[in-house]
Amino acid sequence: MKNFSLAFNNLIRRPGRTLALALLSAFLSLAVFGGSVMVLSLRSGLHSLEARLGADIIVVPSQAQSKVSFQNMFLQGTTGAFYMNASALDQALEVEGVEKAAPQTFLASLKADCCSIKIQVIGIDPELDFTVQPWIARSLSRGLGDMDVAVGCKVEAEVGEIIRIYDQRCKVVARLEATGTGLDTAVYCNMETMNALLAAAEAKGVSHKIESGDEVISAIYVKVKDGCDIDKVNSRLNGHIRKVTAVRTRSMITGVSDSLSGISRTITLLIAAVWGLALIILLLISVLIIRERVREFAVLRLVGASRGMLGRMVLTESSLCGLLGGLIGVGAAALLLFPFAQLIESALQLPYLMPSAAVILLLALGTVLLAVAVSALSSMIAAYRLSRVDPGTTLREGN
């Protein structure tokens, strides 16, 4: 306890030195905590995207053309729509190697009087769907009824609220968990509701470029049978169904995954560089402190402090600096990361899903402990040298 009180006393009465050491630790902690949260958020986002896509192949009309724009719908929540005849679903199910196939229909609402908000509306068939339905089921115990909608977590509508889409009144019955993808900005309904909305949109002059009376869908999510070659099934789908493009979901995720790996590598390298540099600076400061404090420690030896006591005092001081710095660093990182999460997400243009509060707390705790450990480690040389000060000679030399 006497070590602690002396160390604490030294820290508060040397505020400049204490603050400089703490800020260095804070810088380290900010880099580690901030970097780790970002990398974890990107990984969670990728996993979430994989889970939400949940299919091996997605079949879209050829007019959807590049998969990039299709990908943007998932990653960034851009609105858009493309259609093909619903008979494509039956054709897909005929293809050898296809285990399951589920349709989705897209519709973009307008930023106009007829619509409460501009959003992407996605119609699903709850009986066939194996990608979105399990996610909806986590927030809604029953199925989506007619004119019911479930909203993504970033849609500004509460449960029980009525939203207008092409002048159709839809009731919000569930608010879905965050996925960190563009799906968070979409609204989900069953196919009956979607058909009503499509008809209302037609009436407003929004053309589907499909022959009148035809039932339309926008995409088919395909699950390939175990043991079948996905590439071969993909080719068969492209050959069997006219005017469509079958895209392997992995190719969408690979791009995201590559970007994620690149960003993760950059962040890790930056953290390593910051730590290497800071460790050198901490060691240099430690050596400078030896020169500055040698007389102080000689006095302490003179009046009864043992070597062990002095060593512990130096370690206590540096650990307290590390603790203070760790808390400042984690706090600063939290202030930068959490309020600006959406800004970071849109700047990265990648799925970005914050880890759970428990994981963040563990990370914060780990970072603070790391800051304490590194501070203590860097002061080992000082602790050793200062505890071996010869008081007789030192106090005489300083005359």
Binding site: K2, L6, N9, N10, R13, R14, R295, E296, A298, V299, L300, R301, L302, V303, G304, A305, S306, R307, G308, M309, D390, P391, G392, T393, L395, R396, G398, N399
Partner: protein
Amino acid sequence: MIKAEHISMRYFRKTGTANYFYAVQPTDLSIQPGELAVLMGRSGSGKTTLLNMLSGLLKPTEGTVRMDDLDLYSLDDRVLSRLRGTKIAVVPQGRSAIDTLTVLENVLLPARLCACPLHVEAAVKHLEHLGIAHLKDARPPELSGGELRRMSIARALSQGPDILFADEPTSDLDDENTFLVLSMLRAFAHEEKKAVFVVTHENDARQYADRLYGMDGGILTEK
């Protein structure tokens, strides 16, 4: 009581005939309770080296230093350090204050380090006797050399040691304070029945000595 037997301090240095020289030649010495011993000598004669060896700060090249039958240099660091904070007090040459503590906190530091009771009133009384009680809440950088010297003496006296070593305790003091400090050290020896060992250049110190030693070229002689 401190008893030194055949202690010497030898340093390696190329001289005419040998590779070393003696800072303190083999010496026997004992300091008794109730006695003020004064050691005088020129600079570089080995006075401080002898004081450091006697006070447990510097292990002699050979010989033993005993305090109440304890061989100081056979003790482990923790025990010897505790002795230095309780039974042995040292007033070193030069500044010996911790700048982050107040004057009073500096005076109470030995007691705080050994987790002994803090006798604040006694500490303030010593500061009063030495004329610096008004500075008890000041920080060492605010004090003059003479005030710092008196603070060191107050710290040593507040320890209530069995033996007090003082290295040039009057070097920064004017005549009035020199008289005051030497009188206090003699009173401490005589009234408290403690041993006091003073190393000094001050000729006036002779008149306070119960036993007077001289040192020249590392050789101790009793006068």
